[in-house]
């Protein structure tokens, strides 16, 4: 896979469908039961107008895409900066994609700098960010 990582390489897209059931499962797994995620009647009375997915659920999909592209280089040496711009909601279909912007070297180790985004079916940007990945022999 080493030689496949080049500047301009596209990552993804990974497509995920958000449901209230998935949000509830994530709440149970993570222990984050904030009512804005799991209490539909509470959330309906807030300015958000309904439940929203945990930001970390969308970010988990980004990590899945990065793991698929970079393997252990991501899992043990990855860095990311993400902004949650809009909320993902039940019924949304998310497309997670990215691009290798540049490849650099630091202390004899090669790194890939990538941009990523997660958009819903209306092309609204839910999450954007940048990631840096150490390029290991099993990831390039």
């Amino acid at each position: 896979m080493h030689e496949e990582i080049q500047e301009g390489k596209t990552l993804g897209p990974l497509v995920k469908h958000i449901t209230q059931e998935k949000i509830n499962l994530y709440a149970e797994a993570s222990g984050d039961f904030n009512p804005i995620h799991v209490d539909e009647s509470f959330a309906a009375r807030t300015p958000l107008g309904g439940t929203i997915a945990h930001g970390m659920l969308s970010l988990a999909y980004v990590s899945e895409m990065m793991t698929s592209a970079f393997g252990r280089g991501w899992l043990s040496g990855g860095r990311l900066r993400a902004k949650f711009r809009e909320s993902a909601r039940p019924g949304d279909t998310l497309a997670i994609s990215g691009r290798v912007n540049c490849i650099g070297k630091e202390d004899d180790v090669s790194y890939a700098n990538c941009g990523f985004e997660c958009c819903n079916q209306k092309d609204e940007v839910i999450v954007t960010g940048e990631a840096t990945v150490k390029l290991l022999d099993d990831s390039r």
């Binding site: 995920k16 998935k22 499962l25 994530y26 149970e28 797994a29 993570s30 222990g31 984050d32 904030n34 804005i36 807030t46 300015p47 958000l48 945990h54 930001g55 970390m56 659920l57 970010l59 988990a60 999909y61 990590s63 899945e64 793991t67 252990r72 991501w74 899992l75 043990s76 040496g77 990855g78 860095r79 990311l80 900066r81 993400a82 902004k83 949650f84 909320s87």
Partner: protein, 131 residues
């Protein structure tokens, strides 16, 4: 650090919450993987570890009742693969507290340790809430 739980108003940069400990059991990893449509890879997905830290953060930060807090941004660095069954300790501190107009932003620093192996993850989370 006071013995009683602090209020949101008392949180200031430099404040450290008591560390939270989690066991990354096979059942936890399986439940997490199912929730994120992930495959069982034989180790703990790094975002599952972050999820523990975020949950610890959500439980620790004393938000005023009825406040809707929104996760605004997240920075993370993954420092090593973590085996299933590891016990981790999440250290959370206040890095910044900013009030801007009708909104307030709380920036928290996260450091996560695999007991016996050292630091495995670090990062920052920004939480937006009404001022």
């Amino acid at each position: 650090m006071p013995d009683r739980p602090v209020s949101y108003e008392e949180l200031t940069p430099g404040y450290k919450f008591p560390p939270a400990t989690y066991e990354l059991s096979a059942s936890f990893v399986s439940k997490y993987s199912k929730a994120v449509d992930g495959a069982d890879a034989g180790f703990v997905p790094p975002l599952a570890i972050t999820a523990c830290a975020i949950a610890a953060m959500a439980k620790s930060v004393p938000l005023p009742s009825g406040t809707i807090a929104i996760h605004a941004s997240q920075e993370l660095e993954f420092l090593g693969l973590v085996p299933v069954g590891a016990v981790i300790e999440c250290h959370i501190g206040v890095a910044q507290k900013i009030a801007r107009g009708k909104m307030s932003m709380l920036v928290l620093e996260l450091e996560i340790f695999d007991k016996g192996r050292g630091r495995i993850q670090s990062g920052r989370a920004a939480i937006a809430l009404p001022a």
